[in-house]
Subunit: 376 residues, 4 copies
């Protein structure tokens, strides 16, 4: 079944395999009149580009985006925006080995079970390169959000067991721009330089041991007005959960207090309503993570995603080949010892797409605003 | 926007408010020829019925389901199945107090922000009674799964900080029927009676302190063949994440090793492929939780949901009223000190619906099976 | 597959069989704050009620609608509106004869081919009673349109070969209210009383000959501003075509000049743009029927639907029974000699639902209106 | 709102403007294992290519398709198939004139009303070139149908008022291959050479008079088994109606007897069931056009689409410019005097896509076939 589209009103459809001709996305439902250039999108793509530090694969991928449609004289026209990154190095190396067995932690086996065969070159459709389409589309969504005063800041909360000292609440004391700048200061996209240093040491050890690491990504969204999202199946947190879980390697998602809420009590976990200095309604705490009953509550939205360690490791592993024989393998090639830093922008992109779709869906929620919209 | 439907090919649409005339669901896309009676559905609804122990609200709700359409001579006809539970006690008590302020941890405030006003009687559409439609539909989905040899077992993994000793892997050593029977032996739906006793003691303390508790629900799915689910946005785990997160009070979702995978290494987290005693491909471990690259891998699917403590507590809380004044409140009435046990069947229902939809979507995945289907 | 929902943002889901417990619809995505009573819906349902003249079945069906959810204190709440009409006379007569063979022109045979069996009582899901849900939902859609200044007038253009003298353009010279009143003056819903008399004479002849008649329904929509609808697959006319063709017995749909455009030339068929007396852009003619490139152009939308003659006739017909034997049958019972008049309000309802969905979808078409909406 | 996708399980998403970098389509939900080459698609595209006779624009458009993803070693992989036709002559001529006014019969005005501005080069997104994506996707759908024994033959039934002598029923006496070959023998795609000659004479007159012509396209589908399509909103004829009406210039759609059914009687219009020589159930006539109650009935599916005359004509026309002034215009450039022949393959493509989606949706209609599918 068709499974490469996401969103209802702001909808993206991605395509492409790791070693095919290219990777792309069609963004449908983008409003007309948004200024948009390839550079707007490229800055996002550059955040997921490999080879920027010793902690990502040394493969060279330029990943230059082209806008093929939907933009005229520098502005979106309201018609579908087709974006493509052509793969530069399609000349496939010898994949006969990888084609012959099932790599642990990868989709090789499930692909064969579902479809009978697979494009085994570099992971095919299940490659991390699939996220290029998401990030390109997310850049557009983020630009729409920005024009509405909504900011998203995303970073690595932990690498292995090395975790930030500051809580999300503490990090939120800085404005989005300052925090974003701080995150870009180290290759692990952590907003604390000393924690990043410890994490780097941990990763170097992983590399030395031909092993890999995982981590947790945290996302902070500010500027969302209250009441966005639906109350039943299209809850804003439910759609964020799906959006983030649709990223390969994500194994957990939580919002606000998340799993720790399970051990809390109502008295400690409830966020009491209060009035802020301007007299506006606010919450004394934000265990809810900015969403109540599926709708944004005006507080910052705070969520986390758990990312598993890169499954491609150089250490010897046991597996089974297509002939049904148990074998030992060593996966060669240039692999990321950790994908968390590169996944940061993917999480941000999927969050942005989800928020834009929810904002659009909300426009017909009330008769009074509908009448105002159509009766000027 | 329309937000009360879930699923694409097997689609449910729920309706109803806590104190309206009734709660219902339309199940569209159910195959023709499934034996179905009201009793099949009632046994599921009875698992979420309140008043069955001191740990759920003493409100009496019979919640008797009626099938209004889609079943003829004891079998589903392929047309929409309309199910309804009429509310028996609509005679509203005085809700003027609750209508006047925003309860912490509830959707009162966000409802008002989105729609301008709300049906404040008993939580309206955001009431736990909304899940009646999900459970009724889930009973049908579970019956379809059962006919395909797929079982779902769901239980409380933890209540507050009282957690089961046995891991999911250990529990999976028992067959689904035995495990299910064990779970029904205590009102907390825990498969370990001694742990349940500790949890009961903890809950009694909560009740005494006018407080409430949360917990973690775990779900085990066995019998799924490999290759179900899609590789990009419609990943089986992504859809499970949305399904479960669309249940009110869920704050976290994880699959397999979940959040603990973030601190693991590739070597420890990868599940090596092996051959079982029959020579079939198997995995030596199941950190993946039964899904690889968005598709089922043939191992049991294992996921967990974190449930927050019931927000309605008798203790004094601070909040704001509709006039914008800070006030102290005490929420009266009969509330569940914990919703985890009653939510167990809701989680199971949403999982069943998600799996059926994925199984249906998978039928057109391959030309060879398509040709076999249409060319007999 | 789920096939009982229509619309994306304003979505309806219908359920129910002719002789089941009831017929209903869930309307999801209706904005909050619309005044809505059962009486608002009943006046629409009464227009399709049988037994109001000798030209419709003398069956007595009261078809009293109940609102089960989504309305609080007289206003829609933004949550799903569940509407039901309980069937009053479920006591089935003996259907063994009708169950045994395939009625010509009915869905008996195709139902059996698709599902293996069918609810044969009164046509089951394929009965005209299925349209009750559409009309009830359409009443809500029409109320939304009315609040935006949009009117729909629908009537019988022809009964058999008896056709109105006045063209749509001529009828549009009268205001919507006057025209609507005129239509209600005869049981055939024709805006010309003399033509209606001729049509009645024709129908009486049909009845005498144990035969039935078809006709053409025309629909006029005024007050739509320009630019509603999409340019590719979600063209406003494409969605109207689907909406109308989803009504049983519809065999043709055309907009503006319709089929006669096929024999016209560009010079005669093009609508030249001009300025009206206020200096606003207008068209000198309306061969386009109010839609250009899939989007409303500000002129009245004019479309027609061809309705086949009622397939249930008393005359002897040849058919095949379930044993695969050729037999002669006489269909007994009280059948409409024509369904065109009763289908008028069904066409209007489906048009209203389509327009509301298009209006909602259009709200996020432009960045400037988006910013105005969210940045006050 | 997103409006460039069509289909649910077999879903296509088109993008591109007439004078942008290219035109493309993403085909998602194509089963794995279908042999597919660029040549398979190119033969379809060639049927809509201009410049093949004096009756289509002399513009040279090579329209060479490239497969960018979803095919590996000559077979579809089950992942999205991205197809693109790069525009070869983007060097825009001077469009300042066409940008300044609203062409009658075109979407210029409605585009401006909806989006505030438009890509005016060659019609932008509303250009006939948009159909390239549909035809490319349709080639894949047709190949799937072919593997299931389903054929589609499409041709011009009339050009202006010059109409075929043979009825659809008579044409159906020839096998699909012979009929298809005959259609390709003249540039108007008519299966009668003498009628084609008359139509050519009519078109030459149109060209001489700087005018344009319309016509009717007819489509015959054979080999569909009974029971495909749904009974309510997703009726097979309703989806065909939307599919065909979403093609620019279509003003009418009818199935089987179509509009003429409106003037028929039940006795003449009902198709009596009978037994064919093999004892299988058949119909004595096919006024229904192969669909009863929204589901295929096993007879050939027969439908027609009315196509309006090309709106771009060289004759002087009145219109209004963006400054709101009434002006006279002469549209220059190379335009098709008729688009009917080039639209034939577009109609066929949209029909094929609709049928494939309906076939896929039908696979979960019955428990017995579901159990057979999953329990081998």
């Amino acid at each position: 079944m068709a499974g490469s589209s996401f969103g209802n009103i702001f909808k993206i459809t991605t395509w492409g395999e790791s070693h095919g001709k290219g990777i792309g996305v069609v963004v449908d439902g983008c409003p007309a009149g948004l200024s948009l250039s390839e550079e707007d999108i490229q800055v996002y793509l550059n955040r997921r580009k490999p080879g920027q530090s010793k902690f990502s694969t040394p493969r060279k991928e330029d990943d230059a985006v082209e806008i093929l449609s939907g933009v005229f004289e520098g502005k979106t026209t309201g018609t579908p925006i087709s974006l493509v990154v052509f793969n530069q190095n399609q000349k496939s190396k010898d994949y006969s080995e990888i084609a012959s067995y099932y790599r642990p932690g990868h989709a090789d086996y499930t692909f064969d079970m579902k479809y009978g065969f697979r494009d085994y070159r570099g992971g095919g459709r299940s490659s991390g390169r699939e996220t290029i389409g998401r990030v390109a589309a997310g850049a557009i969504a983020a630009k729409i959000l920005s024009s509405l005063g909504i900011s998203i800041v995303t970073y690595s909360r932990s690498i292995g067991s090395v975790e930030l000292h500051a809580s999300a609440e503490e990090l939120l004391k800085e404005d989005a721009l300052t925090l974003s700048a701080k995150i870009l200061e180290n290759p692990l996209y952590m907003p604390e330089q000393d924690t990043a240093s410890h994490a780097e040491a941990y990763l170097e050890q992983c590399i030395k041991e031909q092993n890999s690491a995982g981590g947790i990504i945290e996302c902070l969204i500010t500027g969302m007005s209250a009441g966005i999202g639906d109350t039943v199946f299209e809850k804003l947190d439910a759609n964020l959960a799906k959006a983030i879980f649709s990223i390969g390697a994500v194994k957990g998602f939580e919002i606000g207090s998340g799993f720790s809420a399970a051990a809390a009590t109502g008295l400690s976990n409830n966020d009491m309503f209060c009035l802020d200095e301007t007299g506006a309604i606010d919450k004394k705490s934000n265990h809810a993570g900015g969403i109540l009953g599926g709708m944004s509550d005006g507080s910052p939205i705070v969520f986390r995603a758990a990312i598993k360690p890169t499954p491609s490791i150089a250490s010897t592993q046991q597996t089974v080949n297509k002939q049904g024989e148990a074998i030992d393998i060593n996966i060669h090639g240039r692999h990321d010892p950790i994908i968390v830093p590169r996944a940061v922008v993917v999480v941000e992109a999927m969050a942005a797409i989800t928020l834009v779709d929810a904002l659009f869906a909300n426009m017909s929620a009330r008769m009074d605003s509908l009448e105002r919209f159509y009766r000027k």
